[in-house]
């Protein structure tokens, strides 16, 4: 197990370095620092202003380490990202780290309830559909899932804002208030929309997981022993299906931090998703690459944790 852990961790480090290299290619070579400066300052900015801006933002160096081993953008990019020294925003010169710290709370306030309620909604529904497999109810359920999956998230959001916010006036159309008393008022609608938008795909996925388990030998044995169908469903199928469900949940955790891009932007929640959307609108490349890096880092950690858990449970994984 020890060797497996070390191997997996080293591979994770390699992937992080790979992600950083890809980001370097995208944000330094495809889009050159001069382009970034010009997009931030305008097309007609005089050359000396651009040079000064590049100095302020640390772009005034060679791209590759061929000329100067210690002073180049590639190594600087690695060093800064790996030490979480993200520097200044390309658009308004504010420190990126401060914005991330400020955005973390609102993002989590939206995404954690979304994940929890999503599971509480999707698992019972998919158990129900799997229980009635190959009947009218099952086919109807799957069709409803496909129906729900076929609507763009954008339409769900606009529809909800129009119907609930404007016509019925149950909840404010958008906005955010961090006080505990007001928070539910502002979060109710985004959470509802997020649940409706996500439940179709989730139910379909969990249904497949449950059906896969229900064709196993131990289920047939349990049925032969005379266990009741509901007992088989909860005791034998749900229990064994927990592993793939858990994988799905662990892999969803990184996205809790990067926030729900659409929901946050539309409902005016000042989380990390909103920061990303603002960065796109403002051509803010440094913030954007930081957000991509943080998202990737969390996802890699999530993948390693899942793999290690698998290794702990299943000895075959360790040997591969």
């Amino acid at each position: 197990m020890g060797a497996y852990v070390i191997r997996r961790l080293l591979y994770g480090v390699g992937v992080v370095l790979g992600v950083l290299f890809l980001l370097f290619i995208l944000f330094f070579t495809v889009t050159k620092p001069d382009d970034i400066a010009r997009r931030a300052l305008g097309e007609k900015a005089p050359p000396e202003v651009i040079e000064q801006w590049k100095v302020n933002h640390g772009y005034d160096r060679d791209l590759w380490p061929w000329q100067d081993w210690n002073d180049n953008l590639l190594f600087d990019h690695y060093r800064r990202m790996l030490t979480f020294d993200f520097g200044l925003s390309d658009a308004d010169d504010s420190p990126i780290m401060d914005r991330i710290k400020a955005g973390m709370g609102p993002s989590l306030a939206l995404t954690v309830p979304l994940l929890v309620f999503g599971l509480l909604l999707a698992i019972p529904l998919s158990l129900l559909v799997a229980f009635f497999r190959e009947t009218y109810i099952d086919r109807m359920g799957v069709f409803l899932c496909v129906l729900a999956m076929s609507v763009s998230m954008l339409l769900y959001i606009i529809g909800a804002q129009f119907l609930i916010g404007k016509i019925l006036r149950w909840y404010p159309i958008s906005g955010f208030d961090p006080s505990l008393l007001m928070l539910p008022r502002f979060l109710a609608m985004p959470i509802m929309v997020g649940l409706i938008g996500g439940v179709g795909g989730d139910v379909r996925f969990y249904r497949t997981v449950f059906l896969e388990e229900s064709s196993r030998d131990f289920v047939r044995t349990a049925r032969a022993k005379g266990a009741s169908e509901s007992r088989i469903m909860t005791r034998h199928i749900l229990r064994n299906a927990l592993i793939p469900i858990l994988t799905n949940v662990v892999l969803a955790i990184p996205f809790l931090f990067t926030g729900a891009l659409l929901l946050e932007a539309f409902f005016g929640i000042p989380g990390l998703g909103s920061i990303t959307v603002d960065a796109i609108a403002a051509n803010d490349f440094s913030t954007l690459r930081t957000m991509v890096f943080i998202g990737s880092l969390l996802l890699i950690v999530g993948q390693i944790v899942t793999d290690l858990c698998y290794g702990l449970v299943d000895p075959r994984v360790r040997l591969e």
Binding site: V146, L154, I280, G295
Partner: protein, 343 residues
């Protein structure tokens, strides 16, 4: 492509696609497995297939363009602009401002419409017929889904089959590449790619392709690893068949069902991604995503301008739903794991 005009190129592509589809049909009819699968699919999912066919037809009509033949009294198009068949049907129907479906007055301006009652779905703020715009969106959507799949699937096959069949260093490299791309959140990577490469249609398709080939690459690699060990491949190798020929004649045909399933399931995801990109301001011109994004704020007008967003939204929804249903059907028919008896 220098010197070649865009509409000539589009016509040529249309012809190539039609010929390609003809060849595909001929191949499907020749082989028993595919013929039976096609029959089964048609029996199960008639309506959805017809709907997808309608969208394809509209997109094809909108792809064939030629110059000239514009009546003198039409002022809102350039006299030498290439127009498609769909453009020609709706020629001269532009009004001055909003009109509700089938209405005979303009909304912001008391002047009566030039063509009262003929705007099936009303007009938008610029007076363009909404039905016309919704029809135009079909070509863009199919282009996004189709072009991107044509980029992503061959790429995934090249790397996946190559890595799975030849193994060794190449496999290590491909696996590392896949893990790296798979560990970046999809939408963020997509946005990063488009921001870096620019915002035209082709780079949006390339970016969508780059972010969506990973899953299929992993699948085709795993499947090739399995196929490589089977007896018929060993037999071919023992008979001295060259490696390339083994890959083309013995491996690829056994991946064909996966290619078809992936293509259809990928398609709807791609079109839905484009809607989000449109809203972020980095989408493709003329898509339903841009229509939805443009019509978003018109819901807050008084009276409410709802038909714009409703038309784009339903056109999108119906296409995605039909494609999803056909995709599910194809998976049921082709995927051996989905056969009767098992889920």
């Amino acid at each position: 492509m220098m010197g070649l005009e865009a509409h000539v190129f589009s016509n040529a592509v249309t012809v190539v696609l039609l010929v390609g589809a003809g060849v595909l049909v001929a191949v499907v009819r020749r082989q028993r497995l595919w013929r039976e699968a096609a029959h089964q699919l048609w029996d199960r999912r008639k309506l959805a297939i017809i709907v997808v066919g309608l969208y394809l037809g509209v997109a094809l009509l909108d792809s064939i363009a030629w110059k000239g033949g514009i009546p003198e009294d039409v002022l809102d198009v350039l006299p030498n602009a290439p127009l498609t068949l769909i453009d020609r049907i709706f020629l001269g129907t532009k009004e001055a401002s909003y009109s509700a479906p089938f209405a005979d007055v303009e909304f912001y301006g008391a002047a009566p419409l030039r063509q009262p009652g003929s705007h099936l779905l009303g007009t938008d703020i610029l007076g363009r017929d909404v039905f016309y715009l919704a029809l135009k969106g079909a070509r863009v959507a199919l282009l996004i889904g189709g072009l991107t799949s044509l980029i992503a699937i061959p790429l995934a096959l090249l790397f996946g089959v190559g890595a799975g069949y030849f193994g060794g260093r190449f496999d290590d490299f491909v696996f590392f590449l896949i893990s790296t791309l798979a560990s970046m959140p999809g939408l963020l990577l997509l946005i990063a790619l488009i921001m870096a490469m620019g915002r035209d249609t082709l780079s949006v398709c390339v970016a969508l392709g780059v972010t969506s080939w990973v899953g299929f690459c992993r699948l085709s690699r795993a499947e090739t690893l399995k196929l490589r060990e089977l007896d018929f491949v060993s037999a071919a190798r023992a008979l001295g068949v060259p490696e390339i020929r083994i890959v083309i004649r013995h491996i690829l045909p056994n991946l064909a069902h996966l290619i078809v399933i992936t293509f259809v399931l990928m398609f709807s995801g791609l079109v839905l991604s484009e809607v989000v990109l449109s809203w972020l301001g980095i989408g493709v011109d003329g898509s339903w995503g841009q229509m939805i994004d443009g019509a978003r704020n018109e819901l807050s007008r008084e009276p409410v301008i709802w038909w714009n967003i409703a038309a784009a939204g339903s056109a999108l929804f119906v296409l995605i739903l039909a494609v999803n249903i056909v995709g599910d059907g194809i998976r049921d028919v082709l995927d051996p794991r989905m056969q009767k008896g098992s889920p």
